[in-house]
Symmetry: C2
Subunit: 122 residues, 2 copies
């Protein structure tokens, strides 16, 4: 008596086998899809979207962003670290003040594509 698992119960794997295999061949490497998801995860937070949008308008220091977003400077700093690690923002120090700015010209385009999608679902 062979034990059945979830896969054995699906006939599609036989019926659509060639479709699945063709798609499988066309899929990018696992790592690429993972990196892509990780990048979008960074965009998937209101605070970070606000920061990126603000920095697209003007270079700003951490304190400016905290005032603008009405958040603690600590919370902003934590989010800036994530944006730094994703190489979406860069910074320059001027005395004790740290000025952040965008480090990617594609951010705006990604946002715009997202906005198109949002505006279409009315």
């Amino acid at each position: 008596m062979t034990k059945r698992n979830q896969w054995d119960r699906c006939d599609c794997k036989v019926i659509h086998e060639d479709v699945v295999n063709t798609v499988k061949e066309k899929m990018p490497p696992e790592e690429t899809l993972y990196d892509l998801a990780e990048l979008f995860k960074v965009f998937g937070d209101t605070t970070r979207v606000k920061i990126l949008w603000a920095l697209d308008k003007s270079e700003m220091c951490v304190c400016d962003l905290a005032v603008l977003l009405n958040m603690t400077q600590s919370a902003v700093s934590h989010q800036l670290r994530i944006l730094r690690q994703a190489r979406l923002v860069k910074y320059r120090k001027e005395g004790k003040i740290v000025y952040y700015s965008l480090d990617d010209e594609h951010v705006k385009q990604i946002f715009e594509q997202g906005l198109v999608h949002i505006s279409e679902r009315l």
Copy 2:
């Protein structure tokens, strides 16, 4: 003796007041930025990225996707619900089989912009 809060300790709000105000005026409405983040949150998961990528290549049923991604049908179905709610995929029923396909021509463009960013950080 006036109690000081976090905002009182920051001089930037005085120094950079006009910059902050100018940026504030240029910011999109709160709701737009929230929706944008919600959309990217949907893209911010490896499973969903894989599903979207696969559906861009071919219409597929839930079982096909489960086999392709080596996941349980239940897990795939849960993620498809999220993609449906975000209006990124649509479906058609054929008997007991449900075929899913992409419902947005911008998905590919958003992915491509993301890939450009990833490929540039070497």
